[in-house]
């Protein structure tokens, strides 16, 4: 894992920092919703990101619906609070409750399933219309390890993502491909000025730190 997990829980909503102590690090907390049809691997993606696992779950992992993960980007501690949503069509109308107030969203589809890609498009449209205007949306084509039987072409999805201003990656929760990267990319794109020590955004223009080990500044 490039990221260092920090167990999350129902902690208070304190993003404030002590004046002394870790003052060099800003701390941000972001709410990230997962949207996408059922069985596209939403929770697998998150479990891979948070626990570094695919099938072998720890006993302590009671549920994969609500998880938190803290990563570090440069001098900023970013805590992701990941809200999973039910993907079934019948629960579609409940989604606004979940993405209300979310700063980021990952819309997941299955590259073997054209329908899931169409659903992903409707999610993106809905997010643009109803979610907070500066929400960071990422499109994730999951199950990329099965790319030999893909239905949704990479270029097609890439083009759609560019047209709609989305981050786009093909991921694989099974192999871990691009899983950390997509979260890191989101973390970089998010405005990190809601901490106590507002020092403005610190995203460097050169975006080649995707593979940078980030566990040196956490904990």
């Amino acid at each position: 894992m490039a990221t260092s997990p920090r167990t999350g829980g129902a902690s208070g909503a304190g993003t404030a920092q002590r004046p002394n102590g870790t003052s060099q690090n800003k701390s941000c907390q972001f709410k990230l919703v997962l949207l996408g049809e059922s069985a596209v691997g939403k929770s697998s993606l998150v479990l891979r990101f948070v626990k570094g696992q695919f099938h072998e779950y720890q006993e302590s992992t009671i549920g994969a619906a609500f998880l938190t993960q803290t990563i570090c980007i440069e001098d900023t501690v970013v805590k992701f609070e990941i809200w999973d949503t039910a993907g079934q069509e019948r629960y579609h109308s409940l989604a606004p409750m979940y993405y209300r107030g979310a700063q980021a969203a990952i819309v997941v589809y299955d590259i073997q399933n054209q329908d899931s890609f169409q659903r992903a498009k409707t999610w993106v449209k809905e997010l643009h219309k109803q979610a907070s205007p500066n929400i960071v949306i990422a499109l994730a084509g999951n199950k990329a390890d099965l790319s030999n039987i893909r239905v949704v072409e990479f270029d097609e999805a890439k083009q759609y993502a560019e047209e709609n201003g989305l981050l786009f990656m093909e991921t694989s929760a099974k192999t871990g491909m691009n899983v950390n990267d997509i979260f890191l990319a989101i973390a970089k794109k998010l405005p990190k000025n809601d901490g106590a020590n507002n020092q403005g955004t610190s995203i460097r223009p050169n975006g080649n730190e995707t593979n940078r080990p980030t566990n040196n500044c956490c904990k």
């Binding site: 999350g8 129902a10 902690s11 208070g12 909503a13 479990l47 549920g63 999973d84 409750m97 979940y98």
Partner: protein, 699 residues
């Protein structure tokens, strides 16, 4: 339930009616249009009909320890759900508890204090806290690890918000719950600001700051629960009743409808569902929003535990939300909307927007929204069926419902029905699997046959006749010639050629032509042997009659193969060495499990052949009588002529005829005494039976 039975119109109709005395409070029709206080003053004996809110507001500032006791009763009442519903009864209880004089005194105090509250004497209100929990809070406040300055400030803020809420609730004019909510939220922001930025909190850790904020919220909300929870000027109670009625109507919903993996029959799963339900119902019994949220979290954790056992891994939201909906439906918690709204309005906004509690609370809200809006489509049933089930026209039986009934056997029936349903499902699965497997097998068989056929078509099986060494034939002939009288062997050879014998006599040309025809028949037969299905000796048995062989001994399939082999190889000069190689090659091509190679090797030794022929005698003697008469006469002449043609002529057709009878005869014989164990009696038995049956021995 209490909420359901409570007439919601009781307070809603009062809103526009002011007290006739013009005191500014609301009047009620029951009080002759007077406000409660004026009414109480005028008709002291009717004071039991006072509105609860006002009475509570009056009681809270009431002095003395008895006031504290009554306050605690009041405090407990909302969680039991009958507090505000049955004020007269409660009042009666209190009457019995307290002595009359004390009671009177207290109520004068109540009146005074209420008036004072109306006059907005905030400090005096705050001066008295009747609740024993207040002491707990004070204790907790002391235990907070923040500086004393901070504690004082926190306490001041608590008192201020507390006073504001009471002031608003007792104030005149129309009330709006959103205003109140905003005021409380602003106070939270203010406290948060103080805690984080005030110098008196400077040395506190983040955790302590958070706990200070939590404490603030908890104290204020617990103290003012009775005002803020389901206030009379909101429609919360109506919503409660509606959703409760709706859930009751939806009692027929099973886990299957929701596509959730809860096993309603499994007792272990049921226990976990019960745990979740009791937590969900318990939400109503807590005062502060935090506690309600924690209760929600506990409820959801039970559900996750349940799902983890059912699915084997951490459950995702795809599984969780249906399960939560199921639990909400089966729990049918009281005052659902009141609780949800209370939390939404009066907890720190960040609490429901983030964090585990916020997530689960959002899920709970989603579940309620789903329940309120669900239709047949969202349950996977037709709208007609949905309507029928909702209206009660269509009966239903769910394992869940039946478990709640007293009748154990009914529950058993229901459980068994569900189990049977599952078994039936499994059965169908198995039978469909069987059919599929059968089809697969047939397909497999067909495929194999097809493949074998194509392979055969590509490389047709051609059986080449075994080349009999010329010297062996010569030997045999010599023996026959030297011993013509005993000629069983000769008889056999001749018998074999019965068909051709007539034509041989007729002429040499005719002889050749018949031999050719017979040979072609043999070759046809041999290729047909090549097909996979025909390899069994039984099917070979069908062949002999076509060949019109004199003796069943020679009707053996091997014989045909041998003759074919010979036909090919004998085109050149008959050579022993050639025979060996050709034969070997033929055998490997044929893949014929007839062990001829060894015997052909044995054939090369003249002694053995001779010996075999001798041993053969008694065998044939048994079967010989049957066939002897027709072949007796042309013995020598025929043999001579055929032998001549075999050796001399280069025509393959003629060479085939005679060697072939010779060869298999030896081979067959050796087949029985493969290891030189010529047991005559045994062979006799075999061959006699064979001779009678006319069927060659199955190899």
């Amino acid at each position: 339930m209490a909420t359901a039975a409570r007439p919601p119109s009781l307070r809603l109709g009062q809103q526009d009616l002011k007290c006739r005395t013009g005191c500014g409070f609301y009047g009620t029709p029951q009080n002759d249009g007077l406000c409660s206080m004026c009414f109480r003053e005028k008709f002291n004996d009717k004071q039991r009909k006072l509105k609860l809110k006002e009475r509570e507001a009056g009681l809270t500032p009431g002095a003395s320890s008895s006031g504290a006791a009554s306050g605690s009763v009041e405090r407990r009442s909302p969680q039991h759900g009958h507090g505000r519903m049955e004020p007269p009864k409660k009042q009666a209880d209190k009457d019995s508890e307290n002595s009359g004089t004390l009671h009177k005194k207290k109520f004068t105090a109540v009146l005074q204090k209420t008036l004072q509250a109306g006059a907005q004497k905030i400090t005096q209100q705050r001066g008295y806290v009747p609740d024993p929990t207040e002491n707990q809070f004070l204790l907790q406040l002391r235990q907070l690890r923040i500086p004393d300055d901070g504690k004082r400030k926190l306490k001041l803020e608590i008192q201020r918000l507390d006073g504001d809420i009471r002031k608003y609730m007792n104030g005149h004019g129309s009330k709006n719950i959103d205003e109140l909510s905003d005021a409380v939220q602003n106070a939270y922001t203010k406290v948060s600001d103080i805690v984080h930025n005030d110098p008196s909190f400077e040395i506190a850790t983040n955790e302590d700051r958070d706990s200070a904020i939590d404490f603030f919220e908890k104290v204020v909300m617990t103290q003012n629960h009775k005002f803020l929870f389901s206030p009379y000027f909101t429609s919360d109670e109506d919503s409660d009743v509606k959703v409760q009625k709706r859930i009751r109507q939806l009692s027929w919903i099973t886990a299957k409808h929701l596509d959730c993996s809860i096993d309603e029959v499994n007792s272990e799963a049921r226990d976990l569902v019960y745990n979740a339900i009791s937590e969900l119902v318990g939400i109503d019994s807590y005062y502060s929003p935090q506690e309600k949220l924690q209760c929600t979290v506990r409820c959801c954790r039970h559900i996750f535990e349940l799902l983890k056992r059912a699915t084997g891994g951490p459950a995702s939201a795809d599984d969780f939300l249906p399960a939560l909906i199921f639990v909400v439906l089966k729990a049918n918690p009281v005052r659902l909307h009141s609780n949800i709204n209370f939390v939404t309005r009066f907890t720190n906004a960040s609490r429901v927007m983030s964090g585990e509690g916020g997530y689960y609370f959002t899920n709970l809200c989603s579940a309620i929204a789903f329940i309120e809006n669900l239709n047949g489509e969202s349950l996977g049933i037709s709208s007609e069926e949905f309507e029928a089930l909702m209206s009660g026209q269509q009966s239903y039986s769910t394992p869940w419902e039946s478990a709640l009934l007293a009748c154990e056997s009914l529950h058993l029936i229901s459980e068994n029905m569900k189990r049977m349903e599952e078994l039936q499902k499994k059965n169908t699965l198995i039978s469909s699997g069987l059919t599929a497997f059968e089809k697969e097998l047939i397909e497999f068989q067909r495929e194999v046959t097809e493949r074998v056929d194509t392979v055969i078509a590509k490389a047709p099986l051609t059986l080449l006749p075994i080349k009999t060494p010329a010297f062996l034939i010569g030997q045999a002939r010599a023996q026959l010639q030297t011993d013509p009288d005993t000629g069983h062997y000769l008889e056999n050879v001749v018998g074999e050629c019965t068909l051709t014998s007539q034509s041989i006599i007729a002429g040499n040309d005719a002889l050749k032509s018949t031999i050719v025809t017979e040979e072609s028949g043999l070759s046809l037969k041999d290729t047909s042997i090549g097909s996979v299905g025909r390899l069994s000796p039984l099917q070979q048995n069908v062949q002999p009659p076509d060949n019109l062989f004199a003796s069943p001994i020679f009707n053996y399939a091997a014989f045909d193969a041998v003759s074919m082999l010979e036909e090919r190889s004998s085109e050149g000069t008959a050579d022993v060495v050639m025979l060996g190689t050709d034969f070997q090659g033929g055998l490997t091509n044929i893949n014929y499990d007839f062990d001829l190679s060894d015997q052909s090797g044995e054939n090369s030794t003249a002694d053995e052949a001779k010996l075999n022929l001798d041993e053969f005698d008694p065998l044939v003697q048994k079967s010989a009588p049957n066939r002897k008469p027709p072949t007796a006469l042309p013995d020598t002449s025929l043999l001579d002529s055929t032998m001549d043609s075999l050796i001399d002529s280069e025509v393959p057709g003629t060479s085939v005829l005679l060697p072939s009878p010779l060869k298999p005869e030896v081979a067959n014989y050796r087949g029985f005494s493969n290891f030189d164990i010529p047991s005559i009696s045994c062979n006799t038995g075999d061959f006699s039976s064979l001779g009678h049956d006319g069927v060659p021995p199955p190899k």
